[in-house]
């Protein structure tokens, strides 16, 4: 994917990756061999007819390509931007075995962007059934479940506790990766099928549990919104953020434009981000755009970073300094952050998954400190406990996630769940895939009674 020059992109929050031109999309599409047993489709969690839509691009029938994609995926412009294609469809593409896989993600994005600019075609919906489905949460899981139930002709009400729809797409993933106008556009397409969206409604509080259970079916997609903290000294000093808070202040509340917008943020001149996943990369890159020197502290080696390769590359280009094999032990200062103390880590034996187990080094030089004035912890999130904890009969796993079977059923007959609240923090497309399964079960159940 082509990217804007670093000096330019550090000055704003506009999209970093620029899309394919029509000519290059068609050229790229022509590389696809149209395998009779397409491995790419097996690699796609929602089984898009990949060779089908790529072939339509090669024929320059972009409308047809769009119809094919949207038969399985109502949020193609989003997925085309944030899916880890290298580990999914592209990772299994046969052409990748010897050379370069087809750039399936870029092609999906191209098709979605083309449709947005050339007029959207609404999918067909079944006649109304009079059944009413409640959807809790408007992230990728909730929106996907809503669209599937709407298409089956049910009435749908989506409850969202924040003042904007989209979940992590809106408050978490920064605009330079996921432009907010595009998120809104794709969600609006789903709402246009007739869903009622109730913002500022916290289910479990604004809507009581018995009111929720009175719907014909319920889908819970409340996400993994509970930030974890390291539990080290100094963590509650001013200037220590969870990645969720830091990203929400900027993405949802526009703190980067303070005081035009009212929400403040401490920009920091030197920022430490702790973690190595996509969330850490996003935080580091936002902090760079707010003008700070940024260290990313990760406890394993650079090769072990769990973030997408493309995002690591972007962070490196944008000047994020990686401090690997190090683990924070203490935040210095009080009441404001003045530094962070870390222990160097040794990589010893491998764990079951083949990753090295980090162990703290001992002896001289085993610790060091970095002078920083802001610390952002991006060490993971747990399932949002608010609603799930209020429903007594709802079976939950050890970490608080809602237990579901293969079809998205929970322990309560007409209650279904999907997305991060069921699987633990995963990806947009996995959230959509599990929501589709749950919605299919809902539609089946409602057609039977």
């Amino acid at each position: 994917m082509n990217r804007r020059p670093v000096e330019e992109r550090l000055r704003d929050f506009n999209e970093v990756a620029t899309g394919l031109s029509k000519e290059s999309a068609v050229l790229e599409a022509k590389r696809c061999m149209g395998c009779p047993k397409p491995l790419c489709v097996d690699g796609c969690p929602v089984s898009i007819d990949i060779p089908g839509f790529i072939n339509a691009i090669a024929e320059e029938d972009f409308r047809k390509a769009s119809r094919i994609v949207k038969a399985d995926n109502m949020l193609p412009a989003i997925c085309g931007r944030v899916c880890p294609q290298e580990a999914q469809c592209q990772g299994t593409c046969i052409l990748g075995k010897k050379g370069k896989p087809v750039r399936i993600g870029d092609l999906e994005r191209f098709v979605a962007d083309w449709e947005r600019e050339n007029g959207v075609e609404a999918p067909e919906t079944a006649p109304t059934t009079g059944k009413h489905v409640a959807i809790v949460g408007s992230g990728p899981a909730g929106i996907t479940a809503a669209s599937e139930c709407l298409r089956a002709g049910h009435e749908v009400t989506i409850f969202e506790s924040l003042h904007e729809a989209g979940g992590v797409l809106t408050y978490g993933i920064p605009a330079f990766r996921m432009p907010k106008g595009i998120v809104k556009f794709e969600i609006d397409q789903v709402l246009a099928l007739g869903a009622e969206l109730k913002l500022n409604h916290i289910v479990g509080r604004s809507v009581a549990v018995d009111e929720l259970l009175a719907y014909d079916a319920v889908f819970i997609g409340t996400g993994a919104g509970l930030p974890y903290f390291m539990g080290i000294e100094g963590e509650n000093y001013g200037g220590v953020y969870s990645a969720n808070e830091f990203l929400t202040r900027v993405n949802l509340m526009h703190a980067d434009k303070f005081p035009e917008y009212d929400t403040p943020i401490i920009r920091g001149s030197r920022v430490a981000v702790v973690g190595g996943g996509n969330v850490a990369m996003d935080s580091a890159r936002v902090a760079r755009r707010l003008g700070a020197k940024v260290y990313l502290i990760y406890r394993r080696r650079e090769d072990d970073l769990p973030a997408r390769a493309e995002e690591i590359e972007n962070a490196v280009q944008e000047g994020v300094e990686f401090v690997c094999c190090a683990n924070p032990t203490k935040i210095l200062g009080g009441p404001e952050v003045q530094g962070i103390e870390c222990n160097r880590m040794d990589m010893c034996e491998l764990d079951e998954s083949g990753r090295p187990i980090p162990r703290p080094c001992t002896g001289v030089d085993s610790t060091f400190t970095l002078d920083v004035d802001v610390v952002i912890e991006a060490i993971g999130q747990g399932p949002n406990p608010l609603l799930a904890g209020l429903i007594p009969d709802l079976k939950r796993g050890r970490r608080g996630n809602i237990e579901v079977d293969e079809d998205g059923r929970t322990s309560i007959p007409h209650v279904f769940a999907g997305g991060d609240i069921a699987t633990g923090a995963a990806t947009v497309i996995w959230a959509m895939g599990s929501a589709k399964k749950a919605a299919a079960s809902i539609n089946k159940m409602l057609s039977e009674n």
Binding site: L162, H163, N200, N244, P264
Partner: protein, 278 residues
């Protein structure tokens, strides 16, 4: 959009608004709060639910900074963009026996709804309210009706007892007249007042007011240390056992944005002058 159906100034710089928000009033109770956002550029700020009447929820606030001053400039019939709620865990209302509800400053506004709920649950309720001066006392008549007894204190002696609610609380504790106490007001007032019940076995609740963003347990901005453990005030609270709170940490965290808050207010007033309206 949510309409301001009634607006009053009820004390120096303190305002009482009734806002139409059926989704909040339906299940809202004492101890809970709402998060409001005035407009597209606004900040999300938490305000306690101070009353419920039909589909309207009451908030009472002091115009201190940018957002509350902007809110105070709105008129009856105008609307705010967002109000989310009810948020937080309701007060632990049950049969305690003899209860005291103590308010300082704008915290007084949280007491009538709590006192009424406590009395409905069969408790005997004493209200003790304090303010710097008579001009800052609020909802006095309403609270007198909601309580069995009401004691008024002012720092300057302009009305009632010359001194602090803590003085009255100490007397009641010494006379063994209490089973449970709620203290709601500025952090420093809650810290000092709650000393009176330390080691007495009297259950003492305070309503903490750390800085919040979402109010739903997603950001961790509102984290407070309670008995050595990290809790999120917006979902685990905002009411906690007073004797377990790390007060200094709370007060330090409240000061995180002092500089920006000043800047925001200056920007607001400058902008207001240039446009000639709000």
């Amino acid at each position: 959009m949510y309409k301001i159906v009634k607006r009053d100034q009820i004390a120096d710089n303190i305002f009482e608004y009734w806002i139409n928000a059926p989704h909040v009033t339906k299940n809202g109770c004492a101890g809970q709060f709402v998060v409001i956002r005035i407009d597209e550029h606004g900040e999300r700020i938490p305000l306690t639910i101070s009353g419920i009447r039909g589909d309207d929820v009451r908030i009472v606030f002091m115009a201190v900074g940018k957002t509350t001053q902007q809110l105070a400039a709105l008129q009856e019939g105008e609307s705010i963009q967002d109000i989310a709620g009810p948020l937080g865990t309701p007060s632990e209302v049950k049969k305690w026996g003899r209860c005291a509800v103590i308010g300082g400053g704008v915290g007084i506004a949280c007491l009538p709804i709590l006192a009424r709920e406590l009395r409905e649950a069969g408790n005997e309720v004493t209200g003790i309210i304090g303010a710097r001066n008579e001009g800052l006392l609020l909802l006095e008549d309403e609270l007198r009706n909601a309580c069995d007894e009401l004691v008024i204190c002012t720092d300057d002696g302009s009305k009632g007892h010359h001194g602090f609610p803590a003085d009255i609380l100490k007397e009641k504790v010494a006379a063994k007249e209490l089973d449970a106490v709620w203290i709601i007001g500025p952090a420093i007032m809650m810290k000092i007042t709650s000393m009176a019940t330390l080691n007495t076995g009297i259950k003492t609740f305070v309503s903490l007011n750390p800085i919040m963003v979402d109010g739903t347990g997603m950001c961790g901005s509102c984290r407070v240390t309670i008995g050595g453990e990290t809790k999120f005030a917006c979902v685990d609270g905002p009411e906690f056992d007073a004797h377990q709170v790390d007060w200094d940490e709370l007060m330090n965290r409240q000061r995180t944005y002092t500089g920006q808050e000043k800047e925001s207010l200056e920007h607001y007033h400058e902008h207001k002058c240039r446009c000639g309206d709000h």
